[in-house]
Amino acid sequence: MPSPLLPEFFALLGIDVFLAISLLTCLLDKRFPQAIPYVYQIAALAGFGHLLISKEFMVLFGEYMRFWYCFIYLIVALANIVGVNIYLAIPKSSSKKLRTLAKVFFGTVTFPTILMCLFFVSSYSNGTGSSLSLFPQVPLEHVYVVLIVCAGILGMGFIVAFRRKKMTKTGREVS
């Protein structure tokens, strides 16, 4: 059975990832250079152009090639999320607050995004047969497992963050 997803789905995912980072970096504008949100918007626009080109030359490019260039675009978007996360956590600018922010960012943005993308790639490879055998094959119907794992990690992250905050507060009160 062919995959219900088209290769362009990964480009769409990449565009959404870029837009999300753009908004997040705008919200955290004190920690990032002013131009960063706009750079990500341009990257998302480039992805839109990429989709348009893919649509025009769909037959010419073939499914294998379309998958790879869309997948590379998604990898670039994910690498940027990881980059932003590392930027928040690097020792140069690290204060306790920033490190906590980096952890929360990892739990709420980086990890769920990477997990969801991995899931979609594996479910896509599940429907295409042998050509993408290097990816593990997970059927699309198991999306709820990924969502539960994401929610679990998110919940754990919150519990750890709040417990530490509470402990620090209590410590201060005692001293």
Binding site: L6, I15, C26, D29, A44, L51, L52, K55
Partner: protein, 191 residues
Amino acid sequence: MDVRKIRYKRFLKLLTLLVTSMFIATASATIYYSLTMEPRVTVSTPVVKFDSASDEPSGSTVNDAWCRLTAKSYPNATLTYEKAVYINNTDSGSAHSIRLSHVSITPANGTSDVGNWTSIKFLVYNSGGYVFSLNYTVSGTDWILQPSGGETSYYSVPASTAWWIRLETLSPATATAGKICDIEIAVDVQE
């Protein structure tokens, strides 16, 4: 500098980014949706197809996707075409299920011409023997279909295997020569 002004600027920046993000996301999703709505139809040879067989009635036409068998019928004697036509599953990888279903027949029910035939049977065989059949028998001036619903159950033809249709015709002793019966049946294939 006024704090309110800074906040206002920040809010405007966020709003602008939010609006452009929504535009880009919507446009991209629309493009993706239009891609999924572009069906591509490729002309190809059917996986399960008809093939000429050793006892094909003369004057018949057999193509991959359809065939016309011009069979005869003798009064008071059963005429059998042992292998009228092959139903060939050319898929080497997997089995496909087939069935026979009635589409149309002339002369129609209630016409006196129906009485020129006793039965016309389409029996499907494989190397192991009889598998299933679609039969037309006459009762008065009406055709009686067997199975009564006009279609058989589905039967699985193994990969790279050919089954064949055995055609049996019979007319009553009183049948008029030259009368023609046209039957259209479909071989439904689950691909």
